[in-house]
Symmetry: C2
Subunit: 123 residues, 2 copies
DNA sequence: TGATAATATTTGGCATACTAAATATATAAA
DNA sequence: TTTATATATTTAGTATGCCAAATATTATCA
């Protein structure tokens, strides 16, 4: 999945993983980095590095919180907003390709099994 | 899975992914790097870097092929061989944890669905 | 108030993983 | 035999992702 999607993302000049972070911002700007790393389930330092790259590519920008100087809030640029549609199109295409030949019943069971596995592994 | 297993592997001073390469060697030494990257489904440069680390940690060593100087063949050290059992124990533990609460019927269907997905994605 | 603890982010260092380009060796073709 | 092509590995550069330690800011408690 990852490898496949990485190839598609290259046409948008993105690295795999970044689209996940952007997705969180599409459903609401001004999030803290702490919230981002909870959502992405990765370390704070990883978020810092990803944001550094995204900021360099003018997809996001950061503003320090007025009330709490430790917090930095992340916002989408116009470019970051515009990239939403093409990525969602890629997601749909990837999903269709992945699930080809798997009927609805199986998809539902698969979902249940994966949820169980998640529960089994997470602390 | 990856994250979980990474934590377990740390007790053996290994990084996640390395155990997969070692596994290939346990079922047969003296493999070329080309064969390794086909088996791991990753790029040749990745194999080079992984082997560099594994060699530094005295788990493997490389010998240039006599008949074809381009080829380097990879072998396990004693240490690399000894690490097999503890890793297989970790695999079994991880599997049991992952599949807890999923009955045999479901496991079989899951397997079939995943195989289908692999076929859908691979070129 | 002033020292201490908690929280948020950053930095440095390392590993997997990729691409693109370089290097070395072997094979094929003129 | 020399040139061109193919194959195997390496190097350089970049990104995600981790850990551990550093830094900055806020909250707490004596």
């Amino acid at each position: 999945m990852r490898r496949n999607f990485a190839i598609a993302l290259r046409s948008l000049n993105l690295h795999v993983g970044q689209e996940h972070l952007l997705c969180r911002l599409w459903s609401g700007d001004g999030v803290t980095q702490q919230q981002l790393c909870e959502h992405l389930k990765c370390e704070a330092s990883t978020v810092t590095n990803m944001l550094k790259t995204l900021e360099k590519n003018k997809l996001v920008y950061r503003i320090r919180d007025d009330n709490d100087g430790r917090i930095s809030r992340v916002f989408l640029t116009e470019k970051g907003r515009e990239i939403k549609e093409p990525i969602e199109k890629m997601w749909r295409a990837q999903q269709d390709k992945l699930l080809n030949g798997i009927v609805t019943e199986e998809r539902l069971l698969l979902r249940r099994i994966l949820k169980q596995m998640e529960k089994n592994l997470l602390p």
